[in-house]
């Protein structure tokens, strides 16, 4: 018995050591800073997402399945610990306490069995698309079931001999064992004892074998240890922010082979349990693009294990990463919407890995889809990502006749209105910018603009993996903004907003950043906008990814809509943190993969499932994408797309 335990402990220790070594073939990534914050975040997550199953229960069926197995096993484990402790301390649980203890433990086992059978039914009968069933799944489900059932048989044999005749009223407190006790009731005591002993050893060795199997293979049950570890080391900062590159010292850029990942990214791969929640949430997968975050992670994981086994001098060379384990189409399909990361129960960070893969092909090999190259060339030569009709406009054109202050004329203003390339150059988005200016003027906000001088924030370059352009842009912009002594930026585009708020601090740019929906909802609350008209309109709200999942701004735009008298807000099934991307994120505004369906068509269907006659949003990309989706469906008569601020502008009193 002790030998068995020692063997199990040794194998687990060896496995942890082996994994530790494997994670550290990756690059350094300092996650030891701010350890108190990390520990606190881990405790909260441990309670809410671990014990409380918050993330799992977003989907009731697999959520309850995991909950039953998790809590059942946890109680059984605690019970074993209690058993061992009381045994060594020579304490005997007696009377009602023992009966309750026995009852709870027995019920836990039954819950685990129910969980396992739900899992078996789901995996082998229902077979949902996202589950990629391999041999390991069958092995571990069988192991759990056999361990629990043999446990009950052993208990049943004991009860048959010790309780059934003498204390039958006790026996029912162990319902699982009781069933088997009844079955063995006819057996003579000696046979029962022999059978009990054999089965006990079988049970013990099976548990040991299971532990050794999990330790030596790359079974997903390893997640019991690795997933909490991954949750502990997870990114506690803003979502999807890649690390800057060091222009002075960089020798290679992005991820071209496995060892270019950081150790934390490799731990990520190790922690993936192949559950497929990310795949179900992924707009690229839903629109039949070649990307599944689940498959990408698993493929990278397989590549990582293959690479780690590769030795210098092996024939055939190192297996290729891009073009081998993953294809370029896969990582270009990502819209960086963060739905995968929101869905992942073990806190994987898919986006930065995908950006790292893009960085390598773009910056080391100059390989990218033609339209991505065109967009980047425009950013380089023209300072904005737009081509075509937009090049007929210049950045300052939208200000004509508005008598706005530019910072060059007077930088002594409360805030800078940062319009963004799209809001300044694309006709439809300029309308939104003009609405916003009217609202700001009505509220008496003291703001300035950069006008012709306003550059691009750099976000599209960063999402394209052309980090060098982003960094140069960010550094120049920070110098310019500091030159004008800008303290507060009001951004209309969630992508600019996210860059200023979460990414510019990497380069020493620290500004107060507000999105126009945040400011306006505050202005309404403070009574600075007089809402005098009604709008009899059914609407729904589409959450932009970079406002919602990236920055957790869900209520401000809705508060604005609720403040409009007569307006009815009918939410889509996928909304707030579960919102589906419009299809325009991750530079997909400028390039389209002609594969599968269009994401904005799928999102427009979501809108059409509501009673809304107008779909509102608060991002220039989303607005364009939704309008295009509406056109595709030929619903332009029945359904309009508007920015929240456009609706508000219609109901406020304009100063005369």
């Amino acid at each position: 018995m002790y030998i068995l335990s020692a063997i199990a402990v040794a194998f687990v220790a060896y496995a942890i050591y082996k994994h530790y070594k494997l994670w550290h073939i990756g690059k350094a990534d300092d996650r030891s800073k701010n350890i108190a914050k990390r520990v606190w975040a881990f405790i909260i997550t441990g309670l809410a997402d671990g014990l409380g199953h918050r993330r799992f229960l977003k989907e009731p069926y697999p959520g309850i399945m995991h909950l039953l197995i998790f809590w059942g096993c946890l109680v059984l484990l605690l019970a074993a610990a209690v058993d061992a402790t009381t045994h060594y301390l020579n304490i005997h649980l007696e009377g009602n306490i023992y009966l309750w203890f026995s009852f709870i433990v027995d019920i836990s086992g039954i819950l685990v069995l129910i969980g396992v059978f739900i899992a078996i039914y789901r995996r082998y009968v229902q077979k949902p698309d996202r589950l990629n069933t391999i041999l390991d799944d069958g092995i571990i489900l069988s192991l759990i079931a056999v361990v629990i059932i043999t446990g009950y048989i052993i208990e049943g044999l004991r009860i048959a001999v010790t309780e059934l005749e003498i204390h039958p009223e006790w026996a029912v407190w162990s319902p699982g064992g009781y069933v088997f006790a009844k079955a063995f009731a006819g057996l003579d005591e000696n046979s029962s004892l022999i059978l009990h002993r054999w089965l006990w050893w079988f049970h013990a060795i099976l548990v040991d074998a299971a532990i050794i199997y999990v330790a030596l293979s790359y079974s997903k049950l390893q997640h019991i240890i690795i997933s909490p570890l991954n949750a502990f080391f997870r990114n506690t900062g803003p979502v999807g922010v890649p690390a800057p590159i060091n222009i002075e010292t960089a020798e290679t850029l992005g991820v071209g082979e496995i060892k270019d990942f950081t150790w934390k990214q490799l731990l990520d791969l190790d922690a993936c349990t192949n559950c497929g929640r990310c795949q179900d949430a992924c707009p690229a997968y839903l629109s039949e693009k070649p990307l599944s975050p689940r498959k990408l992670t698993q493929d990278l994981k397989a590549q990582w294990l293959k690479t780690s086994q590769f030795k210098a001098g092996d024939s055939g060379g190192q297996p290729p990463l891009v073009g081998g384990a993953v294809t370029e189409d896969e990582f270009w399909a990502c819209t960086t919407c963060a739905a995968c990361q929101e869905a992942c129960p073990v806190f994987l960070e898919h986006i930065v890995k995908i950006l790292d893969l893009r960085r390598n092909v773009v910056m080391m090999q100059s390989k990218m889809p033609e339209n991505v190259q065109l967009m980047l060339r425009n950013m380089q030569s023209r300072g904005h990502p737009w081509v075509g009709a937009q090049s007929l406009r210049l950045r300052g054109d939208w200000t004509t006749g508005l008598e706005l202050k530019t910072l060059a004329e007077n930088s002594n203003v409360d805030m800078l209105l940062w319009v963004g390339c799209t809001g300044a150059l694309c006709d439809r988005n300029v309308e939104v910018t003009l609405s916003l200016v009217k609202v700001l003027k009505a509220a008496g906000i003291d703001f300035g603009i950069l006008g012709e001088e306003e550059p691009c924030c750099g976000d599209p370059a960063r999402r394209a993996g052309y980090e060098i352009q982003f960094q140069t842009t960010a550094e120049q912009n920070i110098a310019m903004l500091n030159g004008y002594n800008v303290k507060h930026i009001l951004a209309t585009c969630p992508h600019c907003y996210n860059s200023f708020k979460n990414e510019y601090p990497q380069f020493g740019g620290n500004f107060k950043v507000t999105h126009h929906t945040e400011l306006i909802s505050d202005l309404i609350k403070q009574g600075k906008l007089r809402i005098t008209k009604e709008l009899d309109l059914a609407t729904t709200y589409h959450d932009p990814c970079y406002l919602g999942r990236y920055n957790k701004i869900y209520s401000a735009p809705r508060d604005i809509l609720h403040a409009i008298p007569g307006l009815k807000l009918d939410e889509m099934n996928r909304s707030k943190s579960k919102s589906l991307c419009c299809g325009g994120g991750g530079i997909h505004m400028w390039f389209e993969q002609p594969i599968g369906k269009k994401i904005n068509d799928i999102r427009t269907d979501d809108v059409l499932d509501t009673t809304a006659k107008t779909v509102t949003t608060s991002c220039p990309y989303c607005l364009q994408m939704l309008e295009e989706g509406i056109l595709h469906k030929q619903m332009q008569e029945a359904l309009k797309a508007k920015d929240v601020v456009e609706l508000l502008e219609q109901v406020i009193e304009q100063p005369s």
Binding site: I245, I247, A250, L253, R359, V362, M363, M364, Q365, S366, M368, E370, Q373, L376, R377, Q380, S381, R382, G383, S391, L392, L394, R395, G396, G451, E452, E453, Y466, E467, I468, Q469
Partner: protein, 266 residues
């Protein structure tokens, strides 16, 4: 092989003409504010062709530009694409040189650089579109000039140049050293790689003045100009739209055809 590429910085040619202004006093174009200057599109293709030759035939690329202001950006761009060295020619005396003056200044700089096998220029600058500097430069240097090329293939100690024609291309064989002007048929220039940008950023680009390259003041600037700008104006473009209506599409098509014949389009 040593390739010298001549590049020019120009106002972004994608900006619509109506946004430009003309200064009648100096007869100069005033680009709209907020529009950054770019490398001339044909020159960028010359860089692309040079980079392709370098990849295949192990060449060294020197990029040379002349112009006022912050022209280092276009040289850095060309270096980031794959160029090895850069040279900037900048001097007040160079200003207002015409094609002859410019070609002469370039020729003096190239003489200072020394040996070379191939000089590449854009077929014309995308701002003034004169397309003269390349040919005049070759004339001054006394080397063959082949214009409007879309590809170059080394053949022993000669070069085969694929020259764009209206209905195809012709292949010209030339000894080296020679000068080739490059057309847009070369294809889309590469986006500078991240590593390329990093390496270009670390490079120092020397600035040569009139004194450094020993130019004859009589041959440059307004004094050396062979041409004179008499008038500079933005052409007025008028468009009118007429919608042809009919009951059926077939009828409308007939009416459209008649109209087109009437105005002698078909």
């Amino acid at each position: 092989m040593h390739i010298i590429v001549c590049v020019k910085q120009i106002p972004d040619p994608e900006v619509p003409p109506a946004k430009f202004k003309i200064d009648p006093a100096t007869k100069k174009v005033v680009p709209p504010p907020g529009v950054p200057p770019v490398i001339s599109v044909f020159d960028e293709r010359a860089c692309e062709l040079a980079c392709r030759l370098k990849e295949k035939h192990n060449a060294k690329i020197t990029v040379i530009t002349m112009g006022p202001g912050k022209v280092s950006d276009v040289v850095k761009h060309a270096l980031a694409m794959g160029g090895d060295d850069g040279v900037i020619l900048q001097d007040q005396a160079f200003e207002n040189s015409d094609s002859f003056g410019t070609a002469y200044i370039l020729s003096q700089a190239i003489k200072k650089i020394g040996s070379y096998d191939l000089i590449l220029c854009g077929r014309q600058a995308a701002d003034w579109d004169t397309g003269q500097v390349g040919s005049i430069l070759a004339e001054i240097l006394g080397i063959p000039a082949i214009t409007i090329a879309k590809d170059i293939q080394p053949e022993g100690d000669k070069l085969r140049v694929f020259r764009v024609m209206e209905d195809g291309y012709e292949v010209v064989e030339t000894p080296i050293p020679c000068l080739v002007t490059v057309s847009n048929e070369v294809g889309l220039p590469r986006l500078p790689s991240g590593m390329g940008i990093i390496q270009a950023a670390r490079k120092q680009i020397p600035v040569w003045t009139a004194q450094d390259i020993q130019v004859d003041p009589a041959k440059i600037g307004p004094a050396g100009a062979h041409t004179e700008v008499i008038n500079l104006f933005i052409p007025v473009r008028e468009t009118t739209c007429e919608i042809i209506t009919a009951d059926t599409a077939a009828e409308a098509a007939i009416k459209l055809a008649e109209k087109l014949r009437e105005i002698k389009v078909i």
